[in-house]
Symmetry: D2
Subunit: 233 residues, 4 copies
Amino acid sequence: MLVTTGANIVHDVIEAIGLPHLKGTEVVDDVKLYKNKINRIYDVFLPESYFSDLEEWLQGEVFPNLPQAVSIRELCSLIGERLEDPHSILKCAFDAEVPVFCPAVQDSIIGLQAWLYKQSNSFTIDALADMQELIDLCYEAKHAGAFFVGGGVPKNFILQSMLLTPKDFDYAIQLTMDRPETGGLSGATLDEARSWGKIGENAKSVAVYSDATITLPLIVAAAKDRSKRVPTS
Amino acid sequence: MLVTTGANIVHDVIEAIGLPHLKGTEVVDDVKLYKNKINRIYDVFLPESYFSDLEEWLQGEVFPNLPQAVSIRELCSLIGERLEDPHSILKCAFDAEVPVFCPAVQDSIIGLQAWLYKQSNSFTIDALADMQELIDLCYEAKHAGAFFVGGGVPKNFILQSMLLTPKDFDYAIQLTMDRPETGGLSGATLDEARSWGKIGENAKSVAVYSDATITLPLIVAAAKDRSKRVPTS
Amino acid sequence: MLVTTGANIVHDVIEAIGLPHLKGTEVVDDVKLYKNKINRIYDVFLPESYFSDLEEWLQGEVFPNLPQAVSIRELCSLIGERLEDPHSILKCAFDAEVPVFCPAVQDSIIGLQAWLYKQSNSFTIDALADMQELIDLCYEAKHAGAFFVGGGVPKNFILQSMLLTPKDFDYAIQLTMDRPETGGLSGATLDEARSWGKIGENAKSVAVYSDATITLPLIVAAAKDRSKRVPTS
Amino acid sequence: MLVTTGANIVHDVIEAIGLPHLKGTEVVDDVKLYKNKINRIYDVFLPESYFSDLEEWLQGEVFPNLPQAVSIRELCSLIGERLEDPHSILKCAFDAEVPVFCPAVQDSIIGLQAWLYKQSNSFTIDALADMQELIDLCYEAKHAGAFFVGGGVPKNFILQSMLLTPKDFDYAIQLTMDRPETGGLSGATLDEARSWGKIGENAKSVAVYSDATITLPLIVAAAKDRSKRVPTS
């Protein structure tokens, strides 16, 4: 399963409906960008018009075709089903039947758009509806591993999923630039999660304090390479 | 209004029902802590029994007395109403009629407990139900300022609230240890938010990259001191 | 004693000879600054002309009046003696007879200027000459404490000074934004120094991971306040 | 040329004379380590005995065979000449005739050992003696590039070397985890160096905020790979 943020979903959908993110720079006059209708995410630029295009697609093609009440997992799945871009995370997850959870979906443009739709239509997203499925997945797993890219809500949501089962994670990896000293969960060591019983006593865990845009591709490449060489009999 | 995380609410309630957080240390054997039923948050220790006490209180005194469908804001308010500790954030917010939003409430023990309750009772939390109130508050404000302690979901939720109004924030302060270079919103400069029109062209903004447990009390003390001296006629 | 960097000395002298540092901004076109002959240090601006003024002062009034061979500590002292600004660190240190060490003085404009002077004059700075005095100070101290503002060469130089004595530091404080995970000494925990015997087994130590421009004044203010109240008999 | 820290030289020599650094852990009781005569550098362990072995080698084989006055560059070269380990940085630099500068050499065990030797022998290290060679190298270079691994004294020493020439660096790369907001040079952007004219107006520069133990091998591997493919005619 995948647990992610609203922003990840929004920007995945934006790319997938044909609106490419642009390579910009972080040393820039943001008021000038605003006047030119360019939104900035660090060194990435997005024309403001993308959000009208996204609105049109969501209000026109997605929301009217949804059930009146959905869980967030269903919402992610139903969006993924409507995408065609083979590089889209939601599309790949749908095709591979990987459930996608997004606990804070209302904290995103998709959340805002869902609310807009709800203004003139009967529509609810039940915040608790995903829990059963999530906990079932944890319960039924023979082995459970956690792979964290960054921190935030997804990190805790993944870790806390084990609290309602008698199990714990057998291994865990975290790629992050956050630091432990602030006391927040994002930068917390994975050892801290052992004190809670979320990660098992004998579980292997490692935190890599480095930029995930560098370390994630390295790990994926290494995993692909090994999977070719190792017989999985 | 206050936008916060599930963890902040959980630990506020724990303190408020008489279960004090303990000063521990971050240099510790977490497996040993686990065996002694102590949960660790950086250098703070909590006996695991606190969570049974919290469960008892929530399942016994809180959830059975709630309406069958609540918004997250209502949930926070109804919890605050039941607390007596004058130092509790939820209690103070309730008394002062400050609405508390917590977009990712299911990402917390209170979320897990709400789900447990829902197992044998009719109960839903509508993830979108708060939006109207939030946006109304933004719409009606003569002046809007944002004060961010840390980042995460609350930071974006506060900033995006302005996107559906013709307004923007007149000033913004951020206290954080997160850094811009990872590209995440938590460490993003407040200038970045100007490119989106969330913070106004002429708005004053400042980010203080330092530990908020040090800088927040300084700012509060200075504000209290000034408010005594400055006539507010 | 004070152990510091070449840059700290250079900018102390610049202020002390009447050339004030200017409050600028870090969001700026540096090529434009260069063309306007403005040097930038994060959000501080310095006119390039300051360095000609500094050169004139050092080559005209300082170096010609120095002995042909000096230790770095003597150099700092002899510069401090020539300053009149009561806010200058070097001036205050000279007046209070606090020795100032600067192990990497050649890594600064003062180092470059010393080399320029040496081009046409007989002049040497013996890199090892300070050690005896430093180690004597450590040897003779009844109690030794270390107060680190930032990391770098001064941090290690202070810590290693104890290695040649049978003593160790009785207490240590560090104010820093550096982080342990990179493995460098600047962000290393003070506990690490215990494994080396630089900080004593029973010594009190604390690291404050926060901006020293905020935490240092707080500590100084608290120390001043306490020193008024506590009889030192 | 290579500019480095005293610690890098010390630990290079320790490995080269047959004393391997050991993989330990950073979650450890440092007082226990101290009692077991193990020194810790983050997650690396070194038996304290290594430093006696290093002392024996330096006082027995190195210092007695040095001239009475050396520059730091000569010291590094003369140590490299005596090493046989083909993986040693100092040895490789000596063989390849790459000068090694170490501005703060006294801030290291080699500095302490040099001072010990000086106690009963005539010996000086002239802190300014390297400058001429360094500046000549900069002057004579047709193209100059800077590659920074971390920050500290080496970063500034490399950058300031251009200040006494009419030239500037044509390109610059920095691999670091330090951050700009503290105002220190280690985390400063490379653009800041443009305002000083250290890096040229049209120079290419890039800072990679990530762990250099991950990014440096990637860059070296990519460079080796390209050098095989690109004809250098």
